[in-house]
Symmetry: C2
Subunit: 231 residues, 2 copies
DNA sequence: TGGCACATGTAACAAGTTACATGATTTA
DNA sequence: TAAATCATGTAACTTGTTACATGTGCCA
Protein backbone atom coordinates (compact mmCIF):
# COMPACT_ATOMS: atom_id res chain seq x y z
CA UNK A 1 0.00 0.00 0.00
CA UNK A 2 1.42 3.32 -1.05
CA UNK A 3 -1.74 5.27 -0.24
CA UNK A 4 -0.48 5.56 3.31
CA UNK A 5 2.80 7.00 2.04
CA UNK A 6 1.07 9.32 -0.41
CA UNK A 7 -1.00 10.80 2.42
CA UNK A 8 2.03 11.11 4.69
CA UNK A 9 3.76 13.02 1.91
CA UNK A 10 0.83 15.42 1.63
CA UNK A 11 0.52 15.90 5.39
CA UNK A 12 4.26 16.58 5.55
CA UNK A 13 3.47 20.01 4.04
CA UNK A 14 0.77 20.83 6.59
CA UNK A 15 -2.37 19.51 8.32
CA UNK A 16 -5.32 18.40 6.18
CA UNK A 17 -8.74 16.81 6.65
CA UNK A 18 -9.73 13.58 4.95
CA UNK A 19 -12.04 15.55 2.73
CA UNK A 20 -9.25 17.86 1.60
CA UNK A 21 -7.02 14.88 0.78
CA UNK A 22 -9.91 13.38 -1.14
CA UNK A 23 -10.30 16.60 -3.14
CA UNK A 24 -6.61 16.68 -3.88
CA UNK A 25 -6.78 13.17 -5.32
CA UNK A 26 -9.93 13.99 -7.26
CA UNK A 27 -8.77 17.30 -8.73
CA UNK A 28 -5.02 17.15 -9.08
CA UNK A 29 -4.03 13.53 -9.59
CA UNK A 30 -7.34 12.22 -10.88
CA UNK A 31 -6.12 10.06 -13.74
CA UNK A 32 -2.86 9.10 -12.18
CA UNK A 33 -4.12 7.88 -8.83
CA UNK A 34 -7.73 7.73 -7.60
CA UNK A 35 -9.00 6.69 -4.18
CA UNK A 36 -12.45 5.68 -2.96
CA UNK A 37 -14.03 6.94 0.26
CA UNK A 38 -14.21 3.36 1.41
CA UNK A 39 -10.42 3.20 1.37
CA UNK A 40 -9.45 6.74 2.31
CA UNK A 41 -11.25 7.20 5.62
CA UNK A 42 -10.46 3.76 7.10
CA UNK A 43 -6.80 4.18 6.11
CA UNK A 44 -6.58 7.54 7.90
CA UNK A 45 -8.16 5.96 10.95
CA UNK A 46 -5.65 3.15 10.93
CA UNK A 47 -2.74 5.55 10.47
CA UNK A 48 -3.97 7.48 13.48
CA UNK A 49 -4.23 4.29 15.51
CA UNK A 50 -0.66 3.44 14.45
CA UNK A 51 0.58 6.85 15.60
CA UNK A 52 1.67 8.06 12.15
CA UNK A 53 -0.69 11.04 12.27
CA UNK A 54 -2.44 12.99 15.03
CA UNK A 55 -6.06 14.10 15.05
CA UNK A 56 -7.81 17.32 15.98
CA UNK A 57 -11.60 17.38 15.72
CA UNK A 58 -13.06 20.71 14.66
CA UNK A 59 -16.73 21.08 15.62
CA UNK A 60 -19.06 22.23 12.87
CA UNK A 61 -22.68 23.26 12.92
CA UNK A 62 -24.90 21.62 10.38
CA UNK A 63 -22.52 19.10 8.92
CA UNK A 64 -20.18 16.37 10.16
CA UNK A 65 -17.22 17.50 12.28
CA UNK A 66 -13.92 18.06 10.49
CA UNK A 67 -11.11 15.65 11.36
CA UNK A 68 -7.87 17.58 10.88
CA UNK A 69 -4.84 15.28 10.67
CA UNK A 70 -1.20 16.27 11.19
CA UNK A 71 1.89 14.16 10.60
CA UNK A 72 3.77 12.96 13.70
CA UNK A 73 7.51 12.38 14.11
CA UNK A 74 6.87 8.69 13.68
CA UNK A 75 4.97 9.39 10.44
CA UNK A 76 7.69 11.67 9.16
CA UNK A 77 10.27 8.98 9.85
CA UNK A 78 8.18 6.36 8.08
CA UNK A 79 7.82 8.60 5.02
CA UNK A 80 11.52 9.51 4.98
CA UNK A 81 12.35 5.83 4.99
CA UNK A 82 9.84 4.92 2.29
CA UNK A 83 10.87 7.65 -0.16
CA UNK A 84 14.50 6.47 0.01
CA UNK A 85 13.73 2.78 -0.47
CA UNK A 86 14.84 1.64 -3.93
CA UNK A 87 12.15 0.46 -6.34
CA UNK A 88 13.14 -2.94 -7.70
CA UNK A 89 9.83 -4.18 -9.10
CA UNK A 90 8.90 -3.65 -12.73
CA UNK A 91 5.30 -2.55 -13.24
CA UNK A 92 3.40 -4.91 -15.49
CA UNK A 93 0.97 -4.15 -18.32
CA UNK A 94 -1.71 -5.97 -16.28
CA UNK A 95 -4.72 -4.36 -17.96
CA UNK A 96 -8.00 -6.08 -18.80
CA UNK A 97 -8.03 -4.37 -22.20
CA UNK A 98 -4.59 -5.68 -23.11
CA UNK A 99 -5.72 -9.15 -22.02
CA UNK A 100 -8.68 -8.85 -24.37
CA UNK A 101 -6.34 -7.91 -27.22
CA UNK A 102 -4.42 -11.06 -26.35
CA UNK A 103 -7.54 -13.05 -27.24
CA UNK A 104 -8.75 -10.90 -30.15
CA UNK A 105 -8.28 -13.79 -32.56
CA UNK A 106 -11.43 -15.26 -30.96
CA UNK A 107 -13.54 -12.29 -32.11
CA UNK A 108 -14.96 -11.13 -35.44
CA UNK A 109 -13.50 -8.15 -37.26
CA UNK A 110 -16.56 -6.06 -36.33
CA UNK A 111 -16.27 -6.88 -32.63
CA UNK A 112 -12.56 -6.07 -32.64
CA UNK A 113 -13.19 -2.71 -34.28
CA UNK A 114 -15.87 -1.88 -31.74
CA UNK A 115 -13.39 -2.52 -28.92
CA UNK A 116 -10.64 -0.51 -30.58
CA UNK A 117 -12.81 2.49 -31.39
CA UNK A 118 -14.28 2.59 -27.88
CA UNK A 119 -10.80 2.44 -26.40
CA UNK A 120 -9.57 5.20 -28.67
CA UNK A 121 -12.45 7.46 -27.69
CA UNK A 122 -11.83 6.74 -24.02
CA UNK A 123 -8.17 7.70 -24.33
CA UNK A 124 -8.88 10.79 -26.41
CA UNK A 125 -11.29 11.97 -23.70
CA UNK A 126 -8.82 11.28 -20.90
CA UNK A 127 -6.09 13.12 -22.79
CA UNK A 128 -8.24 16.25 -22.93
CA UNK A 129 -8.96 15.94 -19.22
CA UNK A 130 -5.29 15.52 -18.33
CA UNK A 131 -4.48 18.60 -20.40
CA UNK A 132 -7.18 20.52 -18.54
CA UNK A 133 -5.72 19.52 -15.19
CA UNK A 134 -2.25 20.49 -16.34
CA UNK A 135 -3.41 23.89 -17.54
CA UNK A 136 -5.17 24.53 -14.25
CA UNK A 137 -2.47 23.41 -11.85
CA UNK A 138 0.79 23.67 -13.80
CA UNK A 139 2.00 26.76 -11.95
CA UNK A 140 1.32 25.35 -8.49
CA UNK A 141 3.25 22.11 -8.66
CA UNK A 142 6.93 21.23 -8.36
CA UNK A 143 9.01 20.57 -11.49
CA UNK A 144 8.97 16.85 -10.72
CA UNK A 145 5.22 16.82 -10.47
CA UNK A 146 5.14 18.54 -13.84
CA UNK A 147 7.33 15.78 -15.27
CA UNK A 148 4.67 13.27 -14.20
CA UNK A 149 2.02 15.24 -16.04
CA UNK A 150 4.13 15.21 -19.18
CA UNK A 151 4.77 11.49 -18.80
CA UNK A 152 1.03 10.85 -18.48
CA UNK A 153 0.31 12.73 -21.69
CA UNK A 154 3.14 10.94 -23.47
CA UNK A 155 1.84 7.54 -22.36
CA UNK A 156 -1.69 8.24 -23.49
CA UNK A 157 -0.45 9.52 -26.85
CA UNK A 158 1.59 6.37 -27.35
CA UNK A 159 -1.45 4.30 -26.51
CA UNK A 160 -3.54 6.26 -29.01
CA UNK A 161 -0.91 5.65 -31.65
CA UNK A 162 -0.97 1.93 -30.95
CA UNK A 163 -4.76 1.81 -31.11
CA UNK A 164 -4.94 3.86 -34.30
CA UNK A 165 -2.45 1.56 -35.94
CA UNK A 166 -4.36 -1.56 -34.96
CA UNK A 167 -7.59 -0.05 -36.26
CA UNK A 168 -5.91 0.68 -39.54
CA UNK A 169 -4.53 -2.84 -39.87
CA UNK A 170 -7.82 -4.48 -39.02
CA UNK A 171 -9.82 -2.24 -41.36
CA UNK A 172 -7.44 -3.00 -44.20
CA UNK A 173 -7.70 -6.70 -43.48
CA UNK A 174 -3.99 -6.97 -42.79
CA UNK A 175 -4.49 -8.85 -39.58
CA UNK A 176 -6.09 -12.20 -40.13
CA UNK A 177 -8.28 -13.36 -37.29
CA UNK A 178 -7.84 -17.10 -37.77
CA UNK A 179 -6.41 -18.37 -34.47
CA UNK A 180 -2.71 -19.03 -34.57
CA UNK A 181 -2.27 -17.82 -38.14
CA UNK A 182 1.12 -16.33 -38.77
CA UNK A 183 1.63 -14.06 -41.76
CA UNK A 184 4.95 -12.70 -42.95
CA UNK A 185 3.06 -9.64 -44.10
CA UNK A 186 1.82 -8.81 -40.61
CA UNK A 187 5.32 -8.84 -39.19
CA UNK A 188 6.54 -6.55 -41.93
CA UNK A 189 3.66 -4.15 -41.36
CA UNK A 190 4.12 -4.17 -37.60
CA UNK A 191 7.84 -3.59 -37.81
CA UNK A 192 7.48 -0.69 -40.18
CA UNK A 193 4.91 0.96 -37.95
CA UNK A 194 7.18 1.02 -34.96
CA UNK A 195 10.09 1.94 -37.18
CA UNK A 196 8.33 5.14 -38.15
CA UNK A 197 7.10 6.18 -34.71
CA UNK A 198 10.49 7.33 -33.54
CA UNK A 199 12.28 7.66 -36.83
CA UNK A 200 14.29 10.72 -37.72
CA UNK A 201 12.22 11.44 -40.78
CA UNK A 202 8.83 9.75 -40.81
CA UNK A 203 7.63 9.38 -44.38
CA UNK A 204 5.01 11.70 -45.80
CA UNK A 205 2.61 8.77 -46.05
CA UNK A 206 3.08 8.05 -42.38
CA UNK A 207 2.40 11.67 -41.46
CA UNK A 208 -0.71 11.63 -43.63
CA UNK A 209 -1.78 8.46 -41.92
CA UNK A 210 -1.31 10.10 -38.51
CA UNK A 211 -3.61 12.91 -39.59
CA UNK A 212 -6.18 10.47 -40.89
CA UNK A 213 -5.99 8.53 -37.63
CA UNK A 214 -6.54 11.76 -35.72
CA UNK A 215 -3.36 11.36 -33.72
CA UNK A 216 -2.13 14.88 -33.28
CA UNK A 217 1.64 14.97 -33.55
CA UNK A 218 3.15 17.43 -32.82
CA UNK A 219 0.66 17.92 -30.01
CA UNK A 220 -0.63 21.12 -28.46
CA UNK A 221 1.45 20.02 -25.47
CA UNK A 222 4.63 21.48 -26.82
CA UNK A 223 3.11 24.19 -29.00
CA UNK A 224 5.61 23.50 -31.76
CA UNK A 225 7.40 26.71 -32.62
CA UNK A 226 9.50 25.29 -35.38
CA UNK A 227 12.79 26.95 -34.43
CA UNK A 228 14.34 23.52 -34.01
CA UNK A 229 16.69 24.61 -31.25
CA UNK A 230 17.38 23.28 -27.79
CA UNK A 231 18.82 24.75 -24.63
CA UNK B 1 -10.28 -10.32 -11.44
CA UNK B 2 -9.28 -11.10 -15.01
CA UNK B 3 -7.06 -14.04 -14.07
CA UNK B 4 -10.12 -16.26 -14.26
CA UNK B 5 -10.83 -14.99 -17.76
CA UNK B 6 -7.21 -15.31 -18.85
CA UNK B 7 -7.21 -18.95 -17.81
CA UNK B 8 -10.54 -19.62 -19.51
CA UNK B 9 -9.07 -18.15 -22.69
CA UNK B 10 -6.09 -20.49 -22.49
CA UNK B 11 -8.22 -23.54 -21.72
CA UNK B 12 -10.47 -22.67 -24.66
CA UNK B 13 -7.66 -23.96 -26.90
CA UNK B 14 -7.32 -27.25 -25.05
CA UNK B 15 -6.94 -28.88 -21.60
CA UNK B 16 -4.06 -27.81 -19.38
CA UNK B 17 -2.78 -28.46 -15.87
CA UNK B 18 -2.25 -25.69 -13.36
CA UNK B 19 1.46 -26.16 -13.73
CA UNK B 20 1.30 -25.72 -17.49
CA UNK B 21 -0.71 -22.51 -17.09
CA UNK B 22 1.84 -21.33 -14.57
CA UNK B 23 4.65 -22.00 -17.05
CA UNK B 24 2.83 -20.13 -19.75
CA UNK B 25 2.56 -17.09 -17.51
CA UNK B 26 6.19 -17.38 -16.46
CA UNK B 27 7.68 -17.93 -19.91
CA UNK B 28 5.46 -16.18 -22.40
CA UNK B 29 3.80 -13.26 -20.64
CA UNK B 30 6.29 -12.81 -17.82
CA UNK B 31 6.59 -9.05 -17.80
CA UNK B 32 3.09 -8.34 -18.91
CA UNK B 33 1.21 -10.43 -16.39
CA UNK B 34 2.63 -12.59 -13.60
CA UNK B 35 0.80 -14.86 -11.18
CA UNK B 36 1.79 -16.41 -7.87
CA UNK B 37 1.12 -20.03 -6.93
CA UNK B 38 -0.90 -18.76 -4.02
CA UNK B 39 -3.35 -17.20 -6.44
CA UNK B 40 -3.25 -19.63 -9.35
CA UNK B 41 -4.12 -22.90 -7.67
CA UNK B 42 -6.93 -21.61 -5.41
CA UNK B 43 -8.45 -19.78 -8.40
CA UNK B 44 -8.50 -22.97 -10.47
CA UNK B 45 -10.12 -24.79 -7.58
CA UNK B 46 -12.80 -22.14 -7.27
CA UNK B 47 -13.44 -22.15 -11.03
CA UNK B 48 -13.92 -25.90 -10.84
CA UNK B 49 -16.33 -25.52 -7.93
CA UNK B 50 -18.23 -22.92 -9.96
CA UNK B 51 -18.50 -25.30 -12.91
CA UNK B 52 -16.44 -23.19 -15.33
CA UNK B 53 -13.87 -25.95 -15.82
CA UNK B 54 -13.85 -29.73 -15.36
CA UNK B 55 -11.12 -31.76 -13.71
CA UNK B 56 -9.39 -35.01 -14.57
CA UNK B 57 -6.77 -36.27 -12.14
CA UNK B 58 -3.86 -38.10 -13.76
CA UNK B 59 -2.00 -40.33 -11.30
CA UNK B 60 1.76 -39.95 -11.23
CA UNK B 61 4.45 -41.95 -9.53
CA UNK B 62 6.95 -40.01 -7.49
CA UNK B 63 5.42 -36.57 -7.68
CA UNK B 64 2.04 -34.94 -7.04
CA UNK B 65 -0.83 -36.02 -9.31
CA UNK B 66 -1.54 -33.86 -12.34
CA UNK B 67 -4.82 -31.98 -12.33
CA UNK B 68 -5.86 -31.58 -15.95
CA UNK B 69 -8.53 -28.92 -16.42
CA UNK B 70 -10.84 -28.51 -19.42
CA UNK B 71 -13.23 -25.67 -20.15
CA UNK B 72 -16.97 -26.43 -19.80
CA UNK B 73 -19.85 -24.95 -21.80
CA UNK B 74 -20.55 -22.67 -18.86
CA UNK B 75 -16.93 -21.51 -18.87
CA UNK B 76 -16.94 -20.97 -22.61
CA UNK B 77 -20.07 -18.87 -22.27
CA UNK B 78 -18.56 -16.84 -19.47
CA UNK B 79 -15.43 -16.16 -21.52
CA UNK B 80 -17.43 -15.28 -24.64
CA UNK B 81 -19.37 -12.75 -22.58
CA UNK B 82 -16.29 -11.26 -20.94
CA UNK B 83 -14.28 -10.78 -24.13
CA UNK B 84 -17.18 -8.82 -25.68
CA UNK B 85 -17.77 -6.57 -22.67
CA UNK B 86 -16.60 -3.02 -23.43
CA UNK B 87 -13.70 -1.63 -21.39
CA UNK B 88 -14.74 1.73 -19.97
CA UNK B 89 -12.15 2.20 -17.25
CA UNK B 90 -8.92 4.13 -17.85
CA UNK B 91 -5.85 2.46 -16.37
CA UNK B 92 -4.03 4.75 -14.00
CA UNK B 93 -0.29 5.36 -13.56
CA UNK B 94 -0.63 3.99 -10.01
CA UNK B 95 3.02 3.08 -9.56
CA UNK B 96 5.06 3.46 -6.37
CA UNK B 97 7.98 4.81 -8.36
CA UNK B 98 5.89 7.55 -9.95
CA UNK B 99 4.59 8.44 -6.50
CA UNK B 100 8.16 8.79 -5.30
CA UNK B 101 8.91 11.12 -8.20
CA UNK B 102 5.89 13.11 -7.06
CA UNK B 103 7.73 13.75 -3.81
CA UNK B 104 11.27 14.07 -5.22
CA UNK B 105 11.49 17.68 -4.07
CA UNK B 106 11.88 16.23 -0.56
CA UNK B 107 15.14 14.47 -1.52
CA UNK B 108 18.69 15.59 -2.20
CA UNK B 109 20.11 15.65 -5.72
CA UNK B 110 22.25 12.59 -4.94
CA UNK B 111 19.30 10.58 -3.65
CA UNK B 112 17.22 11.49 -6.69
CA UNK B 113 19.98 10.41 -9.06
CA UNK B 114 20.35 7.11 -7.24
CA UNK B 115 16.63 6.42 -7.75
CA UNK B 116 16.71 7.44 -11.40
CA UNK B 117 19.80 5.41 -12.28
CA UNK B 118 18.45 2.31 -10.53
CA UNK B 119 15.16 2.67 -12.36
CA UNK B 120 16.93 3.09 -15.70
CA UNK B 121 18.97 -0.04 -15.14
CA UNK B 122 15.85 -1.97 -14.16
CA UNK B 123 14.06 -0.93 -17.34
CA UNK B 124 17.06 -1.58 -19.56
CA UNK B 125 17.27 -5.10 -18.15
CA UNK B 126 13.54 -5.73 -18.62
CA UNK B 127 13.73 -4.46 -22.20
CA UNK B 128 16.39 -7.05 -23.00
CA UNK B 129 14.27 -9.76 -21.42
CA UNK B 130 11.16 -8.74 -23.35
CA UNK B 131 13.16 -8.80 -26.56
CA UNK B 132 14.40 -12.27 -25.66
CA UNK B 133 10.86 -13.51 -25.11
CA UNK B 134 9.76 -11.97 -28.39
CA UNK B 135 12.58 -13.59 -30.32
CA UNK B 136 11.79 -16.97 -28.80
CA UNK B 137 8.02 -16.98 -29.22
CA UNK B 138 7.32 -14.54 -32.06
CA UNK B 139 6.49 -17.23 -34.58
CA UNK B 140 4.10 -19.08 -32.30
CA UNK B 141 1.74 -16.30 -31.33
CA UNK B 142 -1.16 -14.60 -33.07
CA UNK B 143 -0.67 -11.21 -34.76
CA UNK B 144 -2.56 -9.54 -31.91
CA UNK B 145 -0.31 -11.12 -29.35
CA UNK B 146 2.62 -9.80 -31.30
CA UNK B 147 1.11 -6.31 -31.16
CA UNK B 148 1.16 -6.59 -27.36
CA UNK B 149 4.84 -7.45 -27.43
CA UNK B 150 5.55 -4.40 -29.55
CA UNK B 151 3.46 -2.21 -27.25
CA UNK B 152 5.43 -3.48 -24.26
CA UNK B 153 8.73 -2.58 -25.89
CA UNK B 154 7.40 0.83 -26.92
CA UNK B 155 6.22 1.55 -23.38
CA UNK B 156 9.52 0.62 -21.82
CA UNK B 157 11.43 2.70 -24.37
CA UNK B 158 9.26 5.71 -23.61
CA UNK B 159 9.89 5.20 -19.92
CA UNK B 160 13.63 4.99 -20.54
CA UNK B 161 13.48 8.22 -22.47
CA UNK B 162 11.64 9.92 -19.64
CA UNK B 163 14.15 8.66 -17.08
CA UNK B 164 17.17 9.63 -19.17
CA UNK B 165 15.78 13.11 -19.59
CA UNK B 166 15.17 13.55 -15.86
CA UNK B 167 18.69 12.33 -15.12
CA UNK B 168 20.06 14.87 -17.53
CA UNK B 169 18.05 17.72 -16.07
CA UNK B 170 18.99 16.87 -12.51
CA UNK B 171 22.68 16.42 -13.35
CA UNK B 172 22.75 19.77 -15.07
CA UNK B 173 21.02 21.37 -12.10
CA UNK B 174 18.09 22.48 -14.20
CA UNK B 175 15.56 21.15 -11.76
CA UNK B 176 15.71 22.94 -8.46
CA UNK B 177 14.80 20.82 -5.50
CA UNK B 178 13.44 23.54 -3.26
CA UNK B 179 9.84 22.51 -2.50
CA UNK B 180 7.27 24.42 -4.50
CA UNK B 181 9.83 26.42 -6.45
CA UNK B 182 8.64 27.27 -9.91
CA UNK B 183 11.14 28.22 -12.59
CA UNK B 184 10.29 29.50 -16.05
CA UNK B 185 13.44 27.81 -17.22
CA UNK B 186 12.26 24.37 -16.15
CA UNK B 187 9.05 24.68 -18.09
CA UNK B 188 10.93 25.70 -21.20
CA UNK B 189 13.32 22.80 -20.84
CA UNK B 190 10.52 20.31 -20.22
CA UNK B 191 8.45 21.53 -23.13
CA UNK B 192 11.32 21.33 -25.56
CA UNK B 193 12.16 17.81 -24.53
CA UNK B 194 8.70 16.53 -25.27
CA UNK B 195 8.59 18.61 -28.39
CA UNK B 196 11.55 16.74 -29.77
CA UNK B 197 10.45 13.24 -28.85
CA UNK B 198 7.89 13.02 -31.62
CA UNK B 199 9.06 15.85 -33.83
CA UNK B 200 9.53 15.45 -37.55
CA UNK B 201 13.16 16.47 -37.39
CA UNK B 202 14.75 16.15 -33.95
CA UNK B 203 17.78 18.39 -33.76
CA UNK B 204 21.26 16.98 -34.05
CA UNK B 205 21.90 17.96 -30.43
CA UNK B 206 18.88 15.98 -29.36
CA UNK B 207 20.02 12.95 -31.28
CA UNK B 208 23.46 13.24 -29.73
CA UNK B 209 21.83 13.44 -26.37
CA UNK B 210 19.88 10.24 -27.08
CA UNK B 211 23.13 8.46 -27.87
CA UNK B 212 24.74 9.79 -24.73
CA UNK B 213 21.71 8.71 -22.71
CA UNK B 214 22.00 5.25 -24.25
CA UNK B 215 18.45 5.27 -25.52
CA UNK B 216 18.64 3.45 -28.82
CA UNK B 217 16.41 5.14 -31.33
CA UNK B 218 15.83 3.82 -33.88
CA UNK B 219 15.87 0.65 -31.84
CA UNK B 220 17.00 -2.85 -32.77
CA UNK B 221 13.25 -3.63 -32.60
CA UNK B 222 12.56 -2.41 -36.06
CA UNK B 223 15.99 -2.90 -37.57
CA UNK B 224 15.80 0.37 -39.43
CA UNK B 225 16.46 -0.24 -43.09
CA UNK B 226 16.33 3.35 -44.15
CA UNK B 227 14.22 2.97 -47.28
CA UNK B 228 11.65 5.33 -45.77
CA UNK B 229 8.68 3.60 -47.38
CA UNK B 230 5.47 2.12 -46.04
CA UNK B 231 3.15 -0.58 -47.33
C1' DT C 1 -37.71 20.18 -4.97
C1' DG C 2 -33.96 17.98 -6.67
C1' DG C 3 -29.36 17.64 -6.71
C1' DC C 4 -24.77 19.00 -5.43
C1' DA C 5 -21.15 20.29 -2.01
C1' DC C 6 -19.72 19.36 2.47
C1' DA C 7 -18.09 15.65 5.74
C1' DT C 8 -17.67 11.16 7.64
C1' DG C 9 -18.01 6.56 7.81
C1' DT C 10 -19.32 0.78 7.81
C1' DA C 11 -19.80 -4.00 5.93
C1' DA C 12 -19.22 -7.38 2.69
C1' DC C 13 -16.61 -8.84 -0.72
C1' DA C 14 -12.88 -9.52 -4.32
C1' DA C 15 -8.18 -9.72 -5.56
C1' DG C 16 -3.52 -10.43 -4.70
C1' DT C 17 0.96 -11.31 -1.86
C1' DT C 18 4.02 -13.82 1.16
C1' DA C 19 5.50 -17.34 3.64
C1' DC C 20 5.11 -21.97 4.53
C1' DA C 21 4.46 -27.15 3.43
C1' DT C 22 5.35 -31.63 0.89
C1' DG C 23 8.17 -34.77 -1.69
C1' DA C 24 10.32 -37.36 -5.67
C1' DT C 25 13.55 -36.89 -9.70
C1' DT C 26 17.01 -34.85 -12.39
C1' DT C 27 21.02 -31.96 -13.29
C1' DA C 28 25.36 -29.47 -12.13
C1' DT D 1 25.33 -32.77 -2.32
C1' DA D 2 23.02 -28.79 -3.39
C1' DA D 3 19.65 -26.91 -6.14
C1' DA D 4 16.44 -26.82 -9.79
C1' DT D 5 12.25 -29.04 -11.94
C1' DC D 6 7.89 -31.09 -11.44
C1' DA D 7 3.38 -30.62 -9.01
C1' DT D 8 0.23 -29.25 -5.70
C1' DG D 9 -1.53 -26.64 -2.21
C1' DT D 10 -2.91 -23.69 2.74
C1' DA D 11 -3.16 -19.66 5.97
C1' DA D 12 -2.64 -15.17 7.22
C1' DC D 13 -2.55 -10.92 5.62
C1' DT D 14 -2.90 -6.56 2.76
C1' DT D 15 -5.08 -3.89 -0.56
C1' DG D 16 -8.89 -2.20 -2.91
C1' DT D 17 -13.97 -1.97 -4.57
C1' DT D 18 -18.93 -1.42 -4.13
C1' DA D 19 -22.87 -0.47 -2.04
C1' DC D 20 -24.98 1.54 1.68
C1' DA D 21 -25.76 5.07 5.60
C1' DT D 22 -26.30 9.87 7.61
C1' DG D 23 -27.46 14.68 7.56
C1' DT D 24 -27.24 20.01 6.60
C1' DG D 25 -27.13 24.02 3.64
C1' DC D 26 -27.34 26.16 -0.72
C1' DC D 27 -28.48 27.11 -5.47
C1' DA D 28 -31.37 26.88 -9.72
Amino acid sequence: MSLREAMLGLLDDGPMTGYEIKQFFRNVIQHFWSVSDGQLYPTLKKMHKDGLISLEVVEQKGTANKHVYSITDKGREKFAHWIREPVIKFEELKEPFVLKVFFFSKLSREEILEHLHAQRELHARILEEIRGVRDTYEENVSPYQRMIGYAGILYVEVRLLWLARMIDLVEQGQIETQPGLYTEQMIEVGKRFFEEVFSEKPSKEFRNWLDKAKVHLPFPLWNARGDGRRE
